[in-house]
Amino acid sequence: MGMNLDIVQETGASGRQLAYAAFNSNALDDQKANFPAVTQTIPKNIWVDHLKRIQTDQDQQAFAELFGYFAPRVKAFLMKSGASPGMAEDCTQEVMATLWHKAHLFDPSRASVSTWIFTIARNKNIDALRKQRRPEPEELTWGPEAEPEASDVLVMQQESDQLSQAMKALPGQQRELIEKAYFGDLSHGQIAAETGLPLGTIKSRLRLALTKLARR
């Protein structure tokens, strides 16, 4: 656990890639073995492996690495949403603890790790800052093959990565608008009807995933 958190707190893409390379050369090699054709284009779904290690082995090293990358971002998100630095610090710790406790619920064929952490942080925000309950949709029961297929996992993580890239490429003003809708507490009436979200095919992918469910 005595790792250097500074390395993963680099904000630049190159710093991040360095961090990935430093911590995850093994994970990347594993992926290469399984998916030789597409590995080059998807270097970033390694956090999935981290969560799996937390889930199956209670791996504290994996958790420390994930914490080093995501906790400072969660804290920034909570502060932008109106939390004081002290409140954001406490909530971030609770969000990351929830991640550990709920690691078994993460489904990498339906979300990236950052999306999943976003939903935990958002719910914590509603609970702690807005003092509201958060009604969630009914849990869906998955079919006999509880373990998601590797190809589904790969595609979802790839699409999430493409979405991140597309968001980065948006014009500044449009990006600001989206950020404001997510972090600025706009009422739904103030959210522009045409946000120009670069959703690509991720929506149809998720729709497809839902057809695989066994219905009660």
């Binding site: 950052s114 509201q132 949709p137």
Partner: protein, 216 residues
């Protein structure tokens, strides 16, 4: 819970983004979560909007955490997960709604509001009001307009108004412009979950009196 019925009236992107961002009032979140439990189309859309949140989280500039943040988080983890809210068992309404009713439709404490129509206000934050409406076959909800937004989700039966027909799973999003008089279809009593972020505006004076008495 998935209705066999084909859902034709869905939630707007603005509302789904608001749900994903966590900026909607609790009563609206309840209608959204209940509709998502019945509608795969909107569930996939909501999850794709969550992935926008994930991409934004990942692109956040970081906020440094206190020195002992990781150690404190490990201590939180050691305490074990918070007790989860008990899951409602076997209800005739989707789980998120069942949690607010404290059971199924048989457990609702209806109050008459005139012309055979009954309602039950559900306890949410005050920014908006959630209520169940029971409209007997052939009966009408008094002609009314809205100052804010009104969401009406059909749970059973069907109603028609000046705009269209709404059956189980369908949700009507009515804004300030819509002045309507929903009528339950002959044959089945109609039960809806409705949320409003401002008091309704009735055209006739009798409902206006009822409104002041019954918190419509």
């Amino acid at each position: 819970m998935n209705t066999m019925n084909k859902i034709t009236h869905h939630l707007s992107d603005q509302l789904l983004i608001g749900y994903s961002a966590g900026s909607l009032p609790e009563a609206f979140n309840l209608v959204v979560a209940t509709h998502l439990s019945m509608c795969d189309e909107c569930r996939a859309a909501a999850q794709s909007f969550d992935s926008i949140g994930g991409a934004l989280l990942q692109a956040q500039p970081t906020e440094n955490l206190g020195d002992a943040a990781l150690a404190k988080t490990m201590a939180l983890i050691a305490k074990g997960p918070k007790a989860a809210a008990s899951k409602p068992v076997g209800s005739d309404v989707p789980d998120p709604l069942s949690a607010y009713i404290g059971g199924g439709l048989n457990d609702v404490k209806w109050r008459p509001i005139g012309l055979g129509v009954r309602q039950a206000v559900l306890k949410t934050s005050h920014a908006a009001t959630a209520r169940l409406l029971y409209i007997p076959s052939g009966a009408a909800v008094p002609d009314h307009g809205h100052r804010g937004t009104e969401l009406t989700l059909v749970l059973q039966g069907a109603f028609r108004d000046e705009t269209a027909r709404f059956a189980a799973g369908d949700v009507e999003v009515a804004d300030e412009e819509l002045h309507h008089k929903p009528v339950a279809e002959i044959g089945h009593d109609c039960i809806c979950l409705a949320a409003t972020d401002a008091p309704l505006r009735f055209s006739a004076w009798i409902p206006r009196v009822a409104q002041s008495l019954f918190r419509l």
